[in-house]
Symmetry: C2
Subunit: 526 residues, 2 copies
């Protein structure tokens, strides 16, 4: 029997607040520090490890977090979720994105359909379609192959798929898996579509329109923009477009598309990268086998996230240490810092995933909570960030917990030896150095050169950024965010906070405004 | 006579803390709200306006901020800076980036040189070089024109120039000003260089190496990477590279470059976009006249930043309202939200500019300060962000002050009418709507659908994103950051916080580690 409880009613939360704090600088120093770093590590799927040696916890706090997990029934709540309970209470929906990549628990039958069969079936449809495009069974009107795929979508239909595409583009080039180049149009700013279109060879581009409802204004607007461009180029849009939508959407049965692939209301936008939303563009770009590898990596991370034992569950560990940092230590931000240029847009995806899921002030029953919830997420790849905002992270007046990601090997294998080391070694040396610099600091009589230390971080370490490791990374963070939502007793799966802006924007466009809104509309010449 | 004082010694700061807070929701409602938005606006150069109607201030607080500015001698300190005083006390350097774009005050003679003449002279050298590349006086070994410029640099040698290039690339395409396409290599991750190089036509690419010291490890490493690639392609690197550096750097007199352009120690990396660091790549990409327009826009904003009258000084207003939000209201973040896809990397530049300048815990004399300093900066373009992290901004448990930027017209002029409005109108309607949604909120008996309001923002409004307006935007934020540093009595012009990581990374590469650092090095296979 699951009980949904606010975090501040938990005995373990009270205990957590009273537990002695860890002196991270002390804990990380000397041979004890070395032992700690060796011990505070757990596999997180796809051959990667989650190391939390430099997070501000000790065995005592970890034990309390384990009690917290039990008292808040966190793994049971995850089980309820993957077994198909309606955990998205606001919208009265199940939450089934895990089923795109594996069967974690019971069969879930909804709307008279076995949902795993449904998702797998759509993947097969997508794989067939992609194979036909690649082998020339589906061609443009001139009988030529498509060379480029361009996704039209916004938010969850853009950030995740784009981040994953960029993560694997160079890997695909060197491994011979780049079947089609991908581009993305998202913003309603007409310069976005116009700018992307002028880089494309329209006659050989296949567009994938992604909108679950089929009513997303930005996406429909950009679709029209693209259709106009196709027509102007003498091309028939119906030969150049597929869509990913829900079966009930107006797009589903439209003759305007080469093919329609379906998702449903049980997969939220920001959790949809492993559904057709990511599957279509990524299968076209890299081939269905690569997308299947990506799903397998995600599935591995999902299975680990089921572990009731906290120390064997990397997503749960990451989540609860994050809750400790947020609610007990009072840190309002988290930075995501991948030491991999290919992950350049992964922080932007995590920013949506985390902030849209857990940026809430009411619990799942719509009652105000008396504690802070989701942190503010930002990040850029290292070593670039070191030459940018790390100054504040090291010596600023706020402490920001850090999530590093690093890989032992590069994707492309080209490298150069300068001053006795490769670039890849320099990259890895920098992330190792940063963890210790942040945690341990350095004393100096010149206070301008002093580093206080005590800045917490964790690191995810993998062999190489591959489809499987990208999948595991994605799922790890999805599951972390889910667990934090359960911990805070909020609904991580709705987004009512996006509605008011939409309503007011419609009023502006209808010239139905007064007061300040009218003045801003006038200033902007609308 | 200037006195450098900590903020908490100011009478005006004490007054500010005790001043009645503004109910933003009340202030922004009804006809008073409309009047307020009309009044709280000031020109900020290049035809743009800075509107602070939705910031949490009123006439009383603005009056106290004006007293604060006077007591802290803020415009006098700016004058000291542009007249050549050594305001970068940590590194004992002048701060002269304003001189790249105008003569704000006295001639500054340093090292026996009139510095404005020096900067202008380098710009002329760059303009000549760019013109020769464009008109075919400088060709590749095969006697063909260069078509692409690729900058190799990191931090300030990358973020600003890249953000500005992206801001103007599409504008240049439609106005016939795109002389050469630009690319950028920054990260020591070898996949960055390898990934960029495989998109370039090496025989027709001119590389610009940017490193003030000539010793930046990432940049020298990437230079070698590029040289290897050129040699492998049968090309002589010396025919394909120019550099921007200081006259005392090892690169300055090297025969390895087609040309060398100089900057000096009085221009910090993050403030160097208007020097040769931005000037070389941008003049090659768009032509020297376009770069001159950009400088003129920046110069217009600089002149406004001299105004002693707070209400006529947009940079000072933005700075001091930000200090009020940070130190009195206690908001630790600021989000930068341009409603312009072309400004996609502008937030990343501002992140460096702000966080590296003002992420400090000691004052300019090296003494600890007892108040928080620089905020954490992040942002993405709207409307994309609306479908991502805005959920937290509207309904999360933390309030984040917002800096919107919007333009009445698109850059490329292509548009589409859907549901009675253009995309550009939709874009503008959304930013207008968001300002009011954040400030005024909306009540609802379902608390999950309630918007608390009281979320502050300002907006910069321009006609169109052009070279001039990009220049004014850049200078506005540079001057804002400078003024905040003066307000907090910190040195915004050094970055000692980046040193420790460099030192430890060298130790890792030399295998001179023990304890936790050795374990991380082993885990990462170094």
């Amino acid at each position: 029997m699951i009980t949904w409880k606010n975090m501040d009613t938990l005995a373990a939360y009270a205990e957590l607040q009273n537990a002695p704090k860890v002196c991270l600088k002390c804990a990380m120093s000397g041979e004890n520090g070395a032992e700690r770093v060796k011990n505070y590590t757990v596999p997180m799927g796809a051959g990667m490890d989650f190391n939390y040696g430099a997070r501000p916890v000790d065995d005592n706090i970890l034990n309390i977090l384990a009690k917290f997990a039990e008292e808040q029934q966190l793994t049971q709540k995850f089980a309820a979720l993957y077994n198909g309970e309606v955990v998205n209470t606001g919208e009265k929906r199940r939450v089934l994105h895990h089923m795109c990549r594996g069967q974690l628990g019971d069969d879930v039958i909804a709307d008279n359909v076995n949902k795993r069969d449904f998702y797998v079936g759509e993947q097969k449809k997508i794989a067939d379609f992609a194979n036909k495009v690649h082998n020339g069974e589906i061609l443009n009107a001139a009988g030529e192959k498509f060379t480029t795929v361009c996704q039209i979508g916004i938010g969850g239909s853009d950030l995740g798929p784009r981040a994953i595409y960029l993560a694997l583009e160079n890997w695909a080039k060197v491994t011979g898996n780049l079947k089609m180049k991908a581009a993305f149009i998202s913003n309603v700013d007409p310069d976005d579509a116009a700018g992307v279109l002028c880089t494309l060879d329209l006659a050989h581009t296949l567009f994938v329109l992604v909108s679950k409802s089929g009513t997303t204004l930005e996406t429909l607007t950009n679709e029209s923009f693209v259709k106009n461009a196709l027509v102007e180029a003498g091309l028939n849009p119906a030969n150049h477009m597929a869509c990913v939508t829900s079966e009930t959407s107006p797009l589903a049965s439209s003759p305007d598309y080469l093919a329609a692939f379906f998702m449903d209301d049980y997969i939220g936008g920001r959790f949809s990268s492993s559904s057709g939303v990511g599957g279509c563009v990524l299968s076209l770009a890299f081939g269905p086998e690569v997308f299947a590898d990506f799903l397998n990596g995600a599935a591995e991370a999902d299975v680990l996230a089921k572990n009731a034992d906290l120390k064997s569950n990397p997503a749960l560990l990451d989540a609860l240490i994050g809750v400790y940092e947020r609610n007990v230590l009072g840190y309002p931000n988290t930075a995501v810092l991948p030491y991999s240029q290919a992950l350049s847009r992964f922080p932007a995806h995590l920013q949506q995933l985390d902030m849209e899921s857990n940026g809430k002030s009411v619990n799942r029953f719509g009652e105000p909570v008396n504690y802070v919830t989701g942190p503010i997420i930002f990040g850029e790849p290292g070593t670039n960030g070191q030459h940018s905002f790390y100054q504040l992270l090291h010596q600023g007046t706020n402490i920001v917990p850090l999530q590093f990601v690093g890989f032992k090997n590069s994707q492309m294998g080209s490298d150069v030896v300068i001053q006795g080391s490769t670039s890849q070694q320099k990259l890895c040396a920098n992330v190792a150095a940063q963890i210790v610099a942040f945690a341990c600091g350095k004393d100096d009589t010149d206070l301008n050169k002093k580093f206080e230390g005590g800045r917490p971080s964790s690191i995810i370490i993998g062999e190489k950024l591959t489809p499987k490791s990208v999948g595991a990374l994605l799922a790890h963070f999805e599951n972390k965010v889910m667990y934090q939502g359960f911990a805070w007793n909020i609904n991580s799966f709705d987004q009512e906070g996006v509605q008011l802006g939409k309503v007011l924007a419609k009023k502006v466009l209808a010239h139905d405004t007064d007061g300040a809104l009218k003045v801003y509309s006038d200033l902007l010449n609308i």
